[in-house]
């Protein structure tokens, strides 16, 4: 089930839903949404992004965190991060606020 999401930009402060349970398997994460009986699979980068979505960081700072965590992150990573956040938001994994 996907939902319409608000516009997401550098200043957006995403916040992950607190009722979701995260189960890490090797370097991937399975997020179980009991309310929708849905399971989401995140690779390690997506999992890292989801973890950063604590409602205190802007998208811009999360992109910086990724650049700081992994070497050689290309400039276009910002678009990938925003796309991942849109996807997470559309599946109800995070909420977006400004």
């Amino acid at each position: 089930m996907e939902t319409e999401i608000a516009v997401i930009n550098d200043e957006t402060m995403p916040v992950r839903r607190e009722d979701l349970m995260c189960h890490v398997v090797d370097d991937e994460a399975l997020i179980y949404d009991a309310e929708r009986n849905a399971t989401h699979r995140l690779n390690c980068t997506a999992h890292f992004i989801w973890e950063q979505c604590d409602g205190t960081q802007t998208c811009e700072s999360i992109v910086r965190s990724i650049a700081g965590r992994w070497e050689g992150v290309p400039a276009e990573v910002k678009e990938d991060v925003l796309a991942a956040m849109r996807q997470m938001a559309s599946h109800g994994l995070i909420g977006l606020s400004r």
């Binding site: 349970m21 994460a29 179980y32 009986n37 849905a38 399971t39 699979r41 690779n43 991942a84 994994l93």
Partner: protein, 316 residues
């Protein structure tokens, strides 16, 4: 790449039939005493006022017959008249609720089995349940999750013929201890696989041929005839293998991550919703040390040889 994927439980992938629930209650008739069978962790009592049905069921499970059970799935078969058409119908009840109303006698036994499956999903609460064949080799459990028609039963039959132990051709039951538990039901072989299974070095299929709804004609390979020594006991999950049958294909294995396997497994879960997050915990705990693959299966002997190679560390 930043990847996300999502799944929800897909009722269409289940084999448990989606027949509208009917509220009628099993009539309390006097007949022969129910006979009770302990099929792995599932106790089943069967009674019928249709001659021959209990004995046909007992032929499949006679090795497992017990005298009493504190808690069992109760199946009753009744010959009834249709209220509207006054024609004779055979009703199959599971724990007092009518599950199926059938016209032909040769439909009854498969639907008794189906009703048991239904009741397992509904009532066997201690186990996280998946639609999967389950085998055991060298002390480790092999789970083969797949949709109907993927060749699970044929693969299980082939592996039994290759000396593997059998736990189930339909249900993987993960207990609170994180282990796979047996439900060694009779292997339900569809008409298209009669020849293949008949050529395996196994006891012969049941002499009866039954009708099972859209699956067509089926016959059973009795776990009693396979023998108790071929029935596996509870074990740790060692491998999760998603089989797809491709006619004429060279059998092959493709490794996948545990995360992907756990994610895909949720599509084959019967009762994850009931367990909620604890179910995910059980699943990810059970799979933590497992190896996970996609299997393209082809000719059964070649596929079994590939599985043996995998166990012996020679695959790929």
């Amino acid at each position: 790449m930043i990847a996300t994927a999502t799944t929800t439980e897909d009722p269409a992938s289940r084999t448990v039939p989606h027949v509208p629930k009917q509220e009628s209650t099993c009539p309390n008739r006097d007949g022969g005493a129910p006979r009770i069978f302990r099929v792995g962790v599932v106790d089943v009592s069967v009674e019928s006022d249709v001659p021959g049905i209990v004995s046909q069921y007992a032929e499949l499970y006679h090795e497992f017959e017990i005298r009493t059970s504190p808690q069992c799935v109760r199946i009753a078969v009744r010959c009834e008249r249709s209220r509207y058409h006054l024609t004779k119908r055979f009703s199959v009840y599971g724990d007092g609720e009518r599950r199926f109303s059938l016209r032909r006698i040769e439909e009854i036994v498969p639907h008794v089995e189906w009703a048991v499956n239904w009741q397992i999903v509904k009532t066997l609460r201690p186990y996280l349940q998946f639609h999967a064949g389950v085998m055991k080799k060298n002390g480790l459990g092999f789970m083969f999750p797949a949709s109907p028609g993927s060749g699970k039963t044929t693969l299980c039959a082939g592996l039994i013929a290759h000396g593997w132990s059998y736990l189930s051709d339909e249900f993987a039951l993960i207990g609170e201890d994180g282990r796979l538990h047996p439900y060694p039901k009779a292997l339900c072989v569809k008409e298209g696989a009669f020849d293949v299974v008949s050529h395996l070095r196994l006891p012969s299929l049941s002499p009866y041929r039954y009708k099972k709804g859209s699956k067509g004609r089926v016959a059973y390979l009795s776990p009693s005839k396979i023998g108790r020594s071929c029935i596996g006991d509870a074990c740790q999950l060692g491998y999760v293998i998603f089989p797809t049958y491709v006619k004429g294909a060279d059998p092959s294995l493709e490794q996948m991550s545990r995360g992907e396997a756990a994610f895909l497994l949720t599509k084959y879960a019967f009762n994850l919703e009931r367990f909620g997050s604890h179910g995910m915990q059980l699943l990810t705990g059970a799979i933590r040390n497992a190896q996970c693959y996609r299997l393209t299966s082809g000719e059964i002997q070649a596929t079994c040889r590939l599985m043996n190679d995998l166990v012996n560390g020679n695959a790929g």
